[in-house]
């Protein structure tokens, strides 16, 4: 695939560059292409599907996006099946192998489609925390032994992303180079948590003026979590993240 063979219509796309639909893998992409072409998985080897599949990879390449190996393996499979079909004398081709490749691919697509539909059905159910709610049971704030969900680093980073996104939405663009020592942010966090009070994660950044402060505060928080001086937890799964002082005297790890 050289650049010259790229269909010009993709280059004309202009505005779509950064709104690439995210496919969850080659099977997902193939299902999408089949749906657009109003074909079903049994027709996955139709030329239109192979061509559009390759065009999509080409586009990823032009955008300098990494193409996962799985996509390339699938491309090779599609081309192999196609090449067998194109041989002038069918008896020269290993039609048995081509048929088998195609059967396998169709079977995988059907199977995958089945779980995709199951996932859609699950997503359409009344979700706890979105559509239905329960009583909190025993009061988690009062009872130190009540179950809590330790906020993971993923939860924190996700919450951080939300904070930064909100900032990006409201602050004017402009680059200011500032050095905010992380160490300076640590006492600020600790004083906010003084006297056993808990603070919601986002409240920590409520009065931060720019990204550098937000990031420095976040780094400081991570440091405090690492030192086990602060605990991050959720009362309900996927709920807001709360921060509180940990009893550093008995929970501090020996090796810091």
């Amino acid at each position: 695939m050289s650049d010259e063979t790229a269909p010009p219509r993709i280059e004309a796309g202009g505005g779509v560059r950064f709104r690439l639909p995210i496919y969850e893998g080659p099977l997902d992409l193939l299902l999408h292409l089949l749906k657009r072409a109003e074909l079903d998985p049994h027709e996955v080897t139709a030329s239109v599907v192979t061509e559009q599949y390759l065009a999509y990879l080409e586009l990823l390449d032009q955008l300098n996006l990494d193409i996962a190996g799985e996509y390339l393996v699938m491309a090779a499979t599609l081309l192999l099946i196609k090449s067998f079909a194109m041989l002038p004398h069918p008896e020269l081709a290993d039609t048995e192998e081509a048929e088998e490749l195609k059967r396998d691919l169709v079977a995988r697509l059907l199977e995958y489609q089945r779980y995709r539909e199951a996932a859609d059905k699950l997503a359409g159910r009344a979700l706890l925390g979105r559509d239905v709610f329960t009583t909190p049971g025993e009061q988690p704030q009062e009872d130190p032994n009540a179950p809590r969900f330790e906020a993971s680093i993923f939860d924190l980073v996700e919450a951080m992303g939300a904070v930064l996104k909100r900032m990006a939405d409201k602050t004017p663009r402009g680059i200011t180079l500032r050095d905010i020592p992380v160490a300076e942010c640590i006492p600020r966090i600790l004083s906010a948590l003084e006297g056993g009070s808990r603070v919601e994660f986002t409240a920590l950044f409520a009065d931060a003026a720019d990204r550098s402060i937000v990031i420095a505060t976040f780094m400081a928080l991570l440091e405090l979590l690492r030192r086990r001086e602060v605990r991050a937890y959720q009362e309900v799964r996927f709920g807001p993240i709360f921060l509180e002082r940990a009893e550093s005297s008995d929970t501090a790890p020996q090796q810091g």
Binding site: P7, R9, I10, G13, V16, R19, L20, G25, L27, L29, H32, L33, R36, A37, P41, H42, E43, A46, E51, Q52, A55, Y56, L59, A68, E70, M74, R108, L110, E111, Y112, R114, Y115, R116, A118, A119, D120, L122, A123, R125, L127, L128, G129, R130, V132, F133, T134, T135, P136, G137, E138, F149, S152, F154, D155, E158, V236, R237, F238, G239, P240
Partner: protein, 216 residues
């Protein structure tokens, strides 16, 4: 004990518990009422609540009974609690579905079904406690096997794994599709000009990456 009295007690227990509670555990708390009587009363209550215009319902979730707000009022509750709904990406749902239906299942098996590396999404599912490591498979390399959790059932409001949406429906669809399509596939192969037509139409189509409101 009078039935109405029993139901009142059960109502208070379910309200206070919050989480799903089994009939056995409720019977234990009450003490002198047989489990079967409790189960019967619970089933009757579930029907009563569902049929009335109460703001809460009693549902069978994850092996027990649970009091939950009625779905119709989700918007009000969300606003009051300033609740952020769970974020479930497509790949997360897809992987959770595969594990739910095929458990216990190993990572290579999941990746074979999805066609992509699934390490990251498995990590997230574990973090969200929707799946758990159920042990190791007695196979070369003894790979880790995954299964869904009680939290998974609670999140999706499922009584048990048997109440997952039926996959056999898809089998029927597949069979129907197969019957419909066997002849057309042959005709495409015997008449190459059909293929040309399809390609011509496709060329007029926007490229696959063009935003067509499906960008998720």
């Amino acid at each position: 004990m009078e039935e109405s009295h029993l139901k009142s007690i059960l109502e208070s227990l379910l309200f206070a518990a919050g989480e799903p509670v089994t009939a056995a555990k409720l019977a234990d708390a009450i003490g002198d009422v047989p489990r079967a009587t409790v189960a019967k009363a619970l089933a009757a209550m579930a029907t009563d609540y569902a049929g009335s215009n109460r703001g809460v319902v009693i549902e069978e979730v994850g092996g027990g009974y649970q009091m939950r707000t009625r779905k119709d009022y989700a918007a009000y509750v969300r606003k009051l609690l300033a609740a952020r709904p769970p974020r479930l990406s497509r790949q997360l749902l897809e992987t959770a579905a595969i594990i739910a239906y095929r458990q216990p299942i190993t990572r290579p098996e999941i990746e074979q079904l999805r066609g992509v590396d699934s390490g990251g999404v498995l990590e997230t599912l574990l973090e969200k406690r929707l799946i758990k490591i159920a042990g190791r498979k007695e196979a070369p390399g003894r790979p880790i096997i995954y299964s869904t959790t009680q939290e998974f059932l609670e999140l999706f409001g499922l009584k048990d794994l048997e109440s997952l949406p039926d996959l056999s429906e898809f089998k029927e669809i597949e069979r129907a599709v197969e019957q419909v399509n066997t002849p057309p596939i042959e005709s495409v192969e015997t008449h190459p000009e059909d293929v040309e037509d399809v390609e011509a139409v496709a060329a007029a189509d926007p490229p696959p990456a063009k935003d067509d409101s499906e960008s998720s």
